[in-house]
């Protein structure tokens, strides 16, 4: 327990500043909007400081503040109607059965070569939130399955199943981006579209 407000503030700054980038990235992927992401981080920081007395020195500050971020997002920013904008889960999880041929390189290599930062961020933005939060916390921010389970207040088995499905959904979206790009480059977009239908 910290005694004075100055001590609390000093500790808070030391712990918080190295996490600012990660908090912003995660907020941005969740809100899909820079302005909302900045507001979400600001709100998280204010809430966390108000609760800093409950934070035990030496415990996992990173997981603690991410829990505040994700709870604040769910309570204040996430709208159920957001889900309506997304394709159905069945559609998103459908296995990609067609992978177009690429001259000289495998489809996998073509995928890896063509992915841009924008493709990846757009793809993540289009995953339903329950899968996205697990994918971002675990695969981008490097939290363990156990830490992710604690942050999101869900069982570790749920983290694993959501992560598996989130990965598949994300891969399907990326395959589609890559296939479209490569087809366009080769002038075979019509063929690709026909095969997908």
């Amino acid at each position: 327990m910290l005694k004075t407000k100055d001590e609390q503030k000093k500790l808070y700054q030391e712990l918080l500043l190295p996490e600012l980038g990660a908090l912003f990235r995660t907020a941005l992927r969740m809100t899909r909007n820079r302005e909302d992401a900045e507001d979400l981080v600001q709100e998280t920081i204010t809430k966390a400081f108000a609760a800093i007395e409950r934070f035990e020195k030496g415990t996992n500050f990173r997981a603690w503040i991410f829990k505040i971020l994700t709870n604040t997002f769910i309570n204040n920013y996430y709208r159920v109607r957001e889900r309506d904008k997304l394709p159905s889960l069945d559609e998103m999880e459908e296995e990609t059965s067609f992978q177009p041929a690429f001259e000289g390189i495998s489809p996998e290599q073509a995928l890896l070569n063509t992915l841009t930062k924008e493709d990846i961020q757009n793809a993540i933005d289009n995953i339903p939130i329950e899968f996205k939060s697990v994918v971002v916390l675990t695969l981008v921010e490097g939290f363990s399955y156990k830490e992710t389970a604690d942050i999101l207040d869900i069982p570790i088995g749920t983290v694993m199943s959501r992560l598996y499905r989130g990965r598949k959904i994300l891969q399907n979206i990326l395959w589609e981006y890559s296939s479209q790009k490569n087809s366009i480059e080769k002038g075979t977009n019509e063929e690709w579209t026909a095969k997908k239908q």
Partner: protein, 75 residues
């Protein structure tokens, strides 16, 4: 270990999660012998590394830094 078992543990292996040293060793031995699984593991490893790297490449806006400093100073 066969291909089915190796693929079932692929993500646990790549994520560095809940596998015993013995299980990790068995997967690595399988990967030395099975080209198909080795390529699959490599592809998945590369894909998730790229995804992570591109996501991490998101600078904090200077406006947010100013806001944070101001919020902390107000406490």
């Amino acid at each position: 270990m066969d291909c089915k078992e190796a693929v079932a543990k692929l993500y646990l292996y790549l994520d560095g999660e809940v596998l015993t040293p013995q299980e990790r060793k068995e997967i690595e031995e399988h990967l030395k012998l099975c080209r198909k699984c080795c390529e699959k593991f490599e592809f998945e490893r590369n894909l998730w590394n790229i995804i992570k790297a591109k996501c991490l490449d998101t600078p904090v806006p200077s406006t947010l830094i100013s806001k944070v400093v101001s919020v902390i100073n107000s406490f």
